[in-house]
């Protein structure tokens, strides 16, 4: 469903994403893990068509995002990490606007808006301007907007940031059901427990490159990690030694 071929992104001489190739099949919940600045967000934004790759290409359901952007993006729902929404629209108006961007209107959209607002417990807020929403409510609204046109795949950057435990649980269930019905989810996260509990497959990104990919068991096997937890595996692959040093420094400060 999502295919990245030799994807590279340069910012001047800095290589943010370095020749990444990846295939996320239909019906899979795929997690991108990596330390801050590893290139996860850049990769996801290239998949969503917001950034243009310096090299390589992104295919969504066979359509190149930068060659056939309209048909590729019709399949996609994107949820960014920072919930910037038009402050002067109400929640319902925002969802109606997003549906319009996907060419949808009428009673079907109105029913879908009501359904999504109900699921995310925003019904009583639907006629309030977004400027009055909390960070978590904005995040819920953006998640609703990504689902409004019934996408085939969802690309989501740090899905749990700002959500209360109830909403986080709801989102996990929604993603699971979405994948079970044949949808595809590609998400980036720092929360290793979330990744371990939710993801069918993972890729660990470090310095713009994929350093490990597959199921958690595959990755353990590839790196001879025995029964190590995902956290230990992650630290081993992304600079655990530095973490230990940091812990010592912090310990010394107390």
């Amino acid at each position: 469903m999502i295919r990245l071929e030799n994807l590279t992104k340069l910012y001047g001489s800095f290589v943010a994403v370095d020749d990444i190739s990846l295939h996320v099949p239909r019906g899979v919940l795929y997690g991108c893990l990596g330390p801050n600045g590893a290139g996860k967000t850049t990769t996801l934004r290239m998949i969503a068509g917001i950034l243009r790759p310096s090299q390589g290409r992104v295919l969504l359901g066979g359509d190149d995002v930068h060659v056939n952007p309209l048909s590729a993006k019709m399949r996609l729902g994107f949820i960014p990490d920072r919930p910037f929404v038009y402050d002067k629209l109400t929640g319902a108006e925002f969802l109606r606007f997003v549906a319009g961007l996907y060419g949808q209107e009428g009673d079907v959209v109105e029913r879908r808006i009501a359904e999504l607002l109900e699921v995310f417990e925003l019904t009583s807020w639907k006629d309030e301007l977004v400027e009055a929403y909390s960070h978590g409510m904005r995040q819920k609204l953006i998640i609703s907007s990504a689902l409004i046109h019934r996408p085939e795949c969802i690309v989501v950057d740090e899905p749990m940031v700002g959500l209360d435990p109830k909403a986080a649980r709801l989102l996990k269930d929604i993603f699971r059901q979405f994948v079970d019905r044949g949808g595809t989810v590609l998400m980036s996260t720092h929360t290793l427990e979330v990744a371990e509990a939710m993801c069918d497959q993972i890729a660990i990104i470090q310095h713009g490159k994929i350093v490990a990919a597959g199921t958690v068991s595959d990755v353990r096997r590839q790196h001879k990690a025995g029964d190590a937890s995902l956290e230990e595996l992650f630290l081993k692959l992304t600079g655990g030694a530095q973490m230990r040093e940091l812990a010592e420094v912090l310990g010394g400060l107390r």
Partner: protein, 563 residues
């Protein structure tokens, strides 16, 4: 605990400003700097030149001559004081209550007095720099005409500085009280309307009383009344009058320290009072400022009106237009500018109506047509200023939401199309209204009326396209205040390009119009020949090119945006 210095508290501000300068320089900003210096220098030279000539002339006039320059300076400084108070009230709301660094500063162990002085300095700087720059050529002209010498420079600074401090303190105090009464976001809305309403009212009043009549002493009952009026202070309790007295006293070699002492002691007393008020009210006001302006909106009006009128459009374009219109009318800082616009139109038409054109025929005919023709340039300039304020920021204002637009299947052409027409249609109505009503007031011939309306329509399409294109090529995604966006380099480049376009179209059309006016003036039949048609075609081609090329450039630029 040792408190951080003021420089330290303001560090994020000045370091960010320095970094922006460095980035500008790194991205080839030298050209921009040179351009800014040239334009700024020309403006300064213009102000200096005009005032220099007036003052030099007045010095030679007996009796009245010595009185008028002081009066002019007093009036200039008085108007600056009003501008400064309004500007400080609005700026203080951002710097004291809405700025992003406040959470950090208020939660840090910085004492309230230090915070007050730091934020007051920030407010003063942001709201006064433009007025301070304007004062330079004005005082330079006074200094040169009255041979003030080198020492006049520090003396003038000494006289003007407290005049900037006082409105900053007053503005901040007014804001502080207002925020304690209303939520900050509601206060911002309220202030925008009050400020613009007041500004509009003052402009309207000033124009309607026809101050040009004051320039004619014969309008006064007798010379004595006039001299008495000039001799008395304009507003004896206002710092502008003290500053004016201090400066004029120095220039006439009659140094009186009282105005200077009054200025500085009042400024010091006001800062102390402002600090006391801040100490008493800031904590409560800051808490209130965190409250949102709760608004419950159904928003069906636009859906029923614009949505219905645009039902023939593809849904994405229609929703985009509805969204843009809603955002405009729900943002008080945006729609309230329409108050000024309405005042501008009234003043504009009033000016045309009071022109003394019809003192005698047939000269009147020539002047009427000349004014009607030149009005195209003036109306074009007005439209360019409005486009700079409303259309130029259109793409920049999408900045934070661009993730949504770029990840959705919205065609960039549709985005540009919506932005273009949402801005162009009201501009077109205004342009045609200005031209049509002006021509009707001037009672021009049908030829001039049709030519004027057609030219204005073509110019509006081109001006809007240029505003949108320059706004796309030089976007300001980080600026949240739409009113600040046109003050960038891109805004300046847009204005200069548009002025060039206006000049090109006016010069081309003049070839044709002159032939018409001359024929009509001499009583010959007007023949539309190939020469006239050629120049109409040149003007048309200029407008078409200035519409299509910028829009294409804007579309290409949009495709390259990365977020």
């Amino acid at each position: 605990m040792k408190q951080p210095s003021l420089v330290h508290v303001l560090q994020p501000k000045w370091r960010s400003a320095l970094q922006r300068l460095r980035e500008e320089r790194a991205s080839g900003g030298t050209g921009k700097l040179v351009l800014l210096i040239i334009v700024g220098g020309a403006f300064w030279a213009g102000v200096f030149g005009v005032l220099f000539m007036i003052l030099r002339f007045l010095r030679k006039v007996e009796e009245l001559g010595p009185l008028i320059p002081g009066k002019i300076l007093g009036l200039i400084l008085l108007s600056f004081i009003f501008i400064l108070v309004l500007s400080n009230v609005i700026t203080a709301l951002s710097s004291f209550f809405l700025a992003k660094d406040l959470d950090l500063l208020v939660s840090a162990p910085v004492d309230w007095l230090r915070l007050y002085i730091a934020k007051l300095s920030e407010t003063l700087l942001h709201s006064s720099w433009m007025v301070a720059l304007m004062i330079v050529p004005i005082l330079a002209a006074y200094g040169v005409v009255y041979k003030g010498g080198v020492l006049f420079v520090p003396y003038a600074i000494l006289a003007v500085l407290p005049m900037l401090i006082l409105p900053a303190v007053v503005g901040s105090a007014v804001t502080l009280v207002l925020v304690n009464v209303f939520p900050a976001r509601r206060t911002r809305d309220l202030l925008s309307i009050i400020a613009l309403g007041a500004a509009g009212g003052v402009i309207l009043l000033f124009r309607v009383i026809r101050p040009e009549q004051l320039a004619r002493p014969e309008g006064f009952r007798n010379l004595l009344d006039f001299v008495i009026l000039l001799g008395g202070p304009t507003s004896p309790f206002l710092p502008s009058e003290w500053a004016s007295q201090a400066i004029m006293g120095y220039l006439r070699n009659q140094i009186d320290l009282l105005p200077l002492v009054l200025l500085w002691t009042t400024a010091a007393a006001f800062v102390a009072l402002g600090a006391a008020l801040h100490g008493a009210l800031y904590a409560q006001g800051f808490t209130k400022a965190q409250e949102g302006a709760e608004r419950f909106i159904r928003g069906t009006l636009w859906r029923w009106t614009i949505g219905w009128a645009l039902r023939w459009l593809p849904v994405a374009r229609r929703e985009f237009v509805i969204k843009d219109v809603k955002l405009f009318f729900r943002d008080t800082t945006q729609w309230s500018q329409l108050i000024l616009l309405a005042v501008l139109v009234v003043v504009y038409l009033f000016n045309i109506q009071v022109l003394p054109l019809r003192r005698g025929e047939p000269v009147g005919f020539f002047y009427v047509n000349l004014v009607s023709f030149l009005n195209l340039g003036l109306a074009g300039f007005v439209l360019a200023s409005i486009a700079a304020r409303f259309i130029f920021p259109a793409v920049s204002l999408e900045g934070r939401q661009m993730w949504l637009l770029r990840s959705s299947p919205l065609d960039l052409k549709a985005l540009l199309w919506s932005k273009y027409w949402v801005g162009t249609l009201p501009l077109l109505v205004l342009g045609l209204l200005l031209t049509g009503l002006t021509n009707a007031l001037l009672e021009v011939t049908p030829f001039m009326m049709i030519m004027g309306l057609t030219t204005m329509a073509a110019l509006t399409l081109a001006i809007a396209a240029q505003a949108l294109a320059f706004g796309t090529v030089y976007p300001q995604f980080e600026t949240e205040n739409a009113a600040q966006i046109p003050t960038s380099f891109g805004g300046l480049a847009f204005m200069m390009t548009t002025i060039a376009l206006l000049a090109g179209v006016i010069v081309s059309l003049w070839q044709a119009v002159y032939q018409y006016v001359r024929a009509a003036y001499e009583g010959r039949p007007v023949v539309i020949d190939s020469w006239m048609l050629l120049w109409f075609a040149v003007a048309g081609a200029l407008c078409v090119t200035a519409t299509i090329v910028p829009l294409r450039i804007a579309r290409k630029k949009l495709e390259t945006f990365e977020f």
